[in-house]
């Protein structure tokens, strides 16, 4: 938001730190989320009201306000909308907001997407706010080295070279932000507007070309470009890149689709780095989900320097739905394949390693046996007789299983070695098992069914 209004003027919910446009909406929110009886879903007006209702009607005590962040769960505080909020909490809120407005000038916010219905709680994920961070990190260093006199024209020419090295590294950083941008575009727009407000529209227009094609443009860069480019330019550039028109601010949605397309060469290398960024991001994201700081204790993430600041501000700004019911706050700690599966409010029912359930299961010796269930081979033979009658091509069973064209089965495929530890030690002998026409199941009754099958099979070619 580019508004200068302080949060104290804008209604917010004491229980979960969410913002609202209107006090009426805030009250509706409180009634639905915090003052709603979990047994009969009746909406009360206050915390104490809820407690009394539960006691009288259901004979049940509750000791904390539902969906409230830790520290704000006091059931006895009579809060209604903005009334009743303790003074010290108001002050704390104001302080947080001031901090946030400082940071948010440079940052882009991502929108939280909303969920299906009320009961599944409020807005959920935010689309990678973190990638924005690297940008942040870039800006200051870039601006400083060669461009102390930012607005100063004399500073420009010397500014250009320093800009060069700075810019390309930024490029890779940009695209990961790109896809992340779209979701939050309308927010970004506000920021960039204010940005431009501070720094003059003109540089924006000039910046366009440098956006997508910085290297080629370098020689031709008009004076006056470089200095403004690094600082104000970077974030707006992300949009500029795509749009390359002075009307960037008004057209962010359009480019997003276009952006990735023109930059395939850039996106490829980016994906892995984005992956890493995300991996590192998981930490803050986890904490982002929970303004409560209990996750940091469990998260092993060493956040980038910019993260803590960002996290702190996002904690207050993103109207995170960190109700107890909501965020799992289970953050995936980067590549070292472990998940943080437990948090104060939720538990991920999943083994700790960050590999898929199937991978985990397939590692078991039981599932790695090359040969099908024992006893298949012998059993498989007799039935082959009748089947063989049914299905002419049965000269060599192993061959049948192999690819018809060049298929030296064992030679070609048997040689493959395990990509993953413990997987089937390559052999293709199994193919020798023959037409696995239910061999293991041939035990008893099968004959009749076997006999049945041909008619079934050959019916009209259907089967």
């Amino acid at each position: 938001m580019g508004r200068k209004k302080k949060k104290q003027l804008k209604p917010w919910c004491w229980y979960c730190n969410r913002d609202f446009d209107d006090e009426k909406i805030l009250i509706q929110h409180q009634k639905a989320k915090h003052f709603k009886c979990h047994i009969c879903h009746k909406k009360l007006y206050t915390g104490p009201g809820l407690a009394i209702h539960c006691m009288q009607v259901h004979k049940e005590t509750i000791d904390a306000v539902p969906n409230a962040i830790p520290g704000r769960t006091d059931i006895e505080l009579e809060i209604y909308g903005m009334e009743g909020i303790p003074e010290k909490d108001m002050d704390e809120r104001r302080r947080l907001l001031e901090q946030k407005t400082q940071e948010s000038q440079k940052k882009k916010q991502q929108d939280d997407s909303d969920e299906y219905d009320d009961d599944d709680s409020a807005a959920s994920t935010s689309f990678q706010p973190q990638p924005v961070q690297p940008q942040q990190g870039y800006i200051p260093p870039m601006a400083q080295p060669g461009l102390p006199p930012v607005p100063g024209a004399p500073g420009m020419p010397p500014g250009i070279p320093p800009l060069m090295p700075g810019v390309p590294p930024l490029m890779p950083g940009m695209p990961p932000v790109m896809p992340g941008m779209p979701p939050g575009l309308h927010h970004q727009r506000k920021y960039t507007q204010s940005f431009c407000g501070e720094n003059i529209m003109m540089p924006m227009g000039g910046m366009m070309p440098p956006g997508p094609g910085i290297p080629p443009l370098m020689p031709g860069m008009p004076p006056g470009m470089p200095p403004p480019v690094p600082r104000p330019g970077i974030p707006p550039m992300t949009q500029a890149q795509a749009v390359s028109a002075p009307g960037i601010l008004n057209r962010p949605p359009a480019p997003t689709a276009a952006v990735p397309a023109p930059q395939p060469p850039v996106t490829k290398p980016l994906f892995p780095s984005a992956g890493q960024a995300q991996a590192a991001v998981q930490g803050p994201v986890g904490t982002d989900f929970k303004p409560l700081s209990s996750t940091p204790a469990t998260t092993t993430e060493p956040p980038k320097p910019t993260f803590p600041a960002y996290t702190q501000s996002t904690a207050s700004t993103t109207s995170t739905t960190n109700s107890t019911a909501a965020k799992p706050a289970a953050s995936i700690t980067s590549k070292p394949a472990t998940l943080t599966t437990t948090s104060a409010t939720s538990k991920l029912i999943h083994p700790d390693e960050d590999i898929s359930l199937e991978e985990r299961r397939a590692q078991l010796p039981k599932y790695q046996r090359n040969l099908p269930r024992p006893g298949q081979a012998p059993i498989g033979n007799p039935p082959v007789g009748p089947i063989g009658a049914m299905m002419p091509p049965q000269p060599g069973i192993p061959q049948q299983q192999g690819m018809r064209p060049p298929m030296p089965p064992h030679g070609q495929y048997g040689g493959h070695h395990q990509g993953m530890p413990g997987y089937l030690p390559g052999a293709m002998p199994p193919y020798g098992q023959g037409p696995p026409m239910v061999p293991p199941y041939q035990g008893g009754p099968p004959r009749p069914p076997m006999g049945m099958r041909p008619p079934v099979m050959s019916q009209g070619g259907r089967y």
Binding site: I62, D63, A64, A68, S113, E115, Y116, D117, D120, S121, S124, F127, P176, P182, P183, H186, A257, P260, K268, L270, T324, P328, I332, T342, T345, S346, K347, L348, I349, H350, P351, D354, L357, E358, A362, Y367, Q368, Q401, G402, M403, P405, M407, Q412, Y413, Q418, G419, L424, Y431, Q433, P435, M437, V438, G443, P445, P446, P448, P449, M452, R453, M457
Partner: protein, 368 residues
């Protein structure tokens, strides 16, 4: 008499409107139980395409087998045939004409099963288990697409042992879906790639994952003109993301929703969050079903952004689901998915496949 041998008393051909009135919760929804279900967890389900009259269901299981049933309109399920791999079967799909079934397995191969001859031949080879398999029918080519934990996506002409094309994936393939001309692959480390299949398969875009946790399942949905326009992606964290490829307003159009979580609004108990094991879109209504480790299935309307229904809780996770070609039948498999690790695996526990009439329950809500 069941073609599949002794599995249980359910060997009788026929509807199992079992009157299992015991307190066991294996079928709280009272749905039709498929006879002769596999002996180990069911990893994948697939119904026959509209080109085949009637409905045939294919299921791949961790018992290394692929089974085929005919599902009659009465609800009766008749086991028809079975094939084996030498490793657990992770994915199955049909050819467009309904004559072949493709199966992908942990034995690093994929096979083509000709149902008329009841023969299966190997058509693909990877260096690690093959996790996904899809049949692509393009105007100018047809092939099988296999995704594997060896980080490759390979395309196979079933007549040759060499792949037509090999595309590198950033990480192990965890799930994929294909509706021509679009394919989506989700990988480990939250990778997400969209492919366009016109002329020949090529990578279209790598997408920053809308989810913060491991990808588990993905399903493409279509727009009103029946063209693929986006996908639903499920993670292990009880959440599904609806993502459009080229939406007019990504911030507004794309969203995620939570699902498959235990009731956590009680302030005291931490919420249990389960993995989303499968997502399937109703072919007619465009609404979707999700199945989770919590043993429930839910129906959702993504346009109205509401939940249509959630089932009762089964006593086992629901590991797979699918709709038949006209959306009248919703099949879901109840078997252990390893979500609680090895300790909770009970090999004696029966695995079920249930069929439910889906014609009514998945009608979309009226848009607000």
């Amino acid at each position: 008499m069941s073609l599949f041998g002794t599995t249980s008393g359910f060997g009788t051909s026929g509807t199992s409107m079992f009157g299992s009135t015991t307190t066991d919760n294996h079928n709280p929804m009272k749905d039709i139980e498929v006879t002769s279900s596999p002996d180990d967890s069911i990893g994948c389900l697939s119904f026959s395409p509209p080109t085949l009259p009637g409905n045939f269901l294919i299921a791949g299981s961790w018992a290394n087998d692929v089974r085929c049933w005919e599902v009659q309109d009465s609800g009766q399920t008749i086991p028809k045939a079975q094939q084996m791999h030498t490793g657990p079967v992770l994915d199955v799909c049909w050819s467009d004409d309904g004559s072949k079934v493709f199966t992908a397995s942990c034995d690093k191969t994929a096979k083509m099963w000709d149902l008329n001859s009841n023969q299966a031949i190997q058509i693909a080879q990877h260096d690690a288990p093959v996790k996904t398999i899809h049949w692509i029918k393009a105007p100018n080519y047809s092939c099988v697409m296999t995704g594997s934990w060896d980080k490759t996506l390979k395309f196979w002409d079933t007549r040759s042992s060499n792949p037509m094309m090999v595309l590198q994936l950033p990480e192990r393939c965890y799930c994929a879906d294909m509706i021509y001309p679009m394919a989506v692959v989700a990988t480990a480390e939250r990778g997400l790639i969209v492919y366009q299949l016109e002329n020949q398969p090529s990578e279209f875009r790598r997408i920053e994952s809308p989810l913060k946790h491991q990808h588990r399942c993905v399903a493409i949905f279509k727009d009103k003109q029946n063209k693929p326009t986006g996908f639903a992606l499920g993670s292990i964290e009880g959440r599904v993301a609806i993502h459009y490829i080229n939406p007019p307003n990504p911030a507004k159009d794309n969203f995620t929703f939570k699902c498959h979580r235990s009731n956590g609004t009680n302030t005291s108990a931490p919420q249990d969050i389960y993995a989303v094991n499968g997502i399937a879109f109703h072919p007619v209504h465009g609404t979707l079903a999700t199945v989770g480790s919590d043993g429930r299935f839910s129906f959702w309307d993504k346009d109205a952004r509401t939940k249509l229904k959630t089932s009762e809780q089964l006593d086992q996770p629901i590991s797979a689901c699918c709709f038949n070609h006209n959306g009248n039948i919703f099949a879901y498999a109840s078997s252990y998915d390893w979500s609680k690790g090895h300790e909770f695996y009970n090999p004696q526990k029966k695995n079920y496949i249930f069929l439910r009439n889906a014609a009514e329950e998945l009608k979309p809500r009226n848009k607000k």
